[in-house]
Amino acid sequence: MLDLQGYGPRLLEGAGVTIQLAVLSLILAVLLGLLTASAKMSRSWLLHRTATLYTTLIRGVPDLVLMMLLFFGGQMGLNLLTDKLYDQFGVDWYIDLNAFVAGVITIGFIFGAYMGETFRGAFMAVDHGQIEAAKAYGMGSWLVFRRIRFPLMMRHALPGLSNNWMVLLKTTALVSVIGLTDMVRVAAEASRATHEPFTFLIPVAVIYLLIASVSEWIFARLQKRYNVGFGEH
């Protein structure tokens, strides 16, 4: 049988870190994506331009480079900021950038750009007549968003969302490079220490495949739910 040489518990802990990181980044990315999509569709020139700059820059640069920039640069930027606060206002404040928080912010920030594109396309696919009908019923704009626009948009967004989630899940492996102890880092350390790379890295690959298969099943069910009333497409 599989002999993990005492690395088992740490590997499981690492798997927990991977899943938490992925889910929290997904939530952040969806929120950012909704904001970006609204900004891109807004009439304000400034909002539109800012959102376009954000999605273009983020999607043009490798995740790892952005991660290092935000992680290594982020701490330095925070230190500069708190130094300035101290010099000018005498506020003694030190923020330590936790690797986990940095990971969530970075991955959420990167995938917010991809989600923004997905949501923008989905919002534009919503039949305008539906929104006019909702307005004719006297719904306010928040109510229109909550009851009509969002559920109808999700139907179109789900395939893209599911795709983004799968890529995001695999991107979380990169945090091992900036020092977070996810399951990839534990497995890499164990491989180097024991000279048995396959014993640790193949189970990690299997866990990724398992998570991907479970999420595929969940997305298929969601898709069914959001497609209610539209027949098969």
Binding site: P62, L64, K170, V184, H195, P197, F198
Partner: protein
């Protein structure tokens, strides 16, 4: 060359971080990244065409192994694949006696193998989708002309499938360029590797990584425009007639 050097020295005068030597690191990194990405894409493409045809076979024992391969390589992080190959290559029986060992001992070739297998898996699925989307009428017409299955594949299905696959393949090329940044994790000095070196040496994260990001951005746009041009040329027959 002398003039260029003088011009560069003048431009960089008083610059602590971006000395000619630093720029040389980035240039070497650019060369490594380009070699790695170009070679893996090329070999991956050559592997993907037959695999895509096999993936669409009617026989279960031909179709399933290919599907298993693409499922595993698309479902796990490239970093894990790279680690498995980079750390695992030493343990392949007899590899240290083989003539390949001097090559495989360096980080470049394990990285190249990992990247090639990864992009081949994605490209196989892209081509498989494009082959499946061939209209029945085209295949029936080819049959009616008496073409054999192989000739139909070569003359009718593959050319039109390549065209249909072009936009998705363009995305894959950009994806590969970005994914290649993880080569720096196994000590390769690609663009990201150069940036990490400069960061560590001068403790200047913004300068080091933003400069690398700018190089990647330029490469991304170059690939984007190349594919947009190719699409315009090769998909011209699909454009609406009265389009503006």
């Amino acid at each position: 060359m002398e003039q260029l050097n003088q011009w560069l020295a003048g431009l960089l005068e008083g610059n602590v971080i971006f000395t000619p030597q630093t720029l040389a690191y980035y240039w070497d990194g650019l060369v490594t990244t380009t070699q790695l990405v170009f070679l893996s894409l090329l070999i991956g493409l050559i592997l993907a065409v037959p695999l895509a045809i096999l993936r669409g076979s009617k026989h279960r024992w031909i179709k399933l192994p290919v599907y298993f391969y693409t499922y595993v390589f698309r479902g796990t992080p490239l970093l894990v694949q790279l680690y498995i190959i980079y750390y695992g290559v030493v343990f392949v029986d007899g590899i240290q006696e083989s003539f390949l060992w001097p090559l495989l001992r360096e980080a470049f070739y394990p990285a190249l193998i990992a990247f090639t297998l990864n992009t081949a898996a994605y490209t196989t699925e892209i081509f498989h989708g494009a082959i499946k989307a061939t209209s029945r009428g085209e295949i029936e017409a080819a049959r009616a002309y008496g073409m054999s299955q192989a000739l139909t594949m070569r003359r009718i299905i593959l050319p039109s499938a390549f065209r249909r696959a072009l936009p998705a393949y363009g995305n894959e090329v950009i994806f590969m360029l970005h994914a290649s940044a993880i080569a720096s994790v196994v000590t390769l000095m690609d663009i990201t590797g150069a940036a990490r070196f400069v960061y560590a040496r001068y403790y200047a994260p913004f300068e080091a990584f933003i400069f690398a990001a700018a190089i990647y951005l330029c490469l991304t746009f170059a690939i984007l425009y190349l594919f947009r041009y190719l699409e315009k040329r090769l998909l011209a027959h699909l454009k609406p007639l009265s389009g503006n």
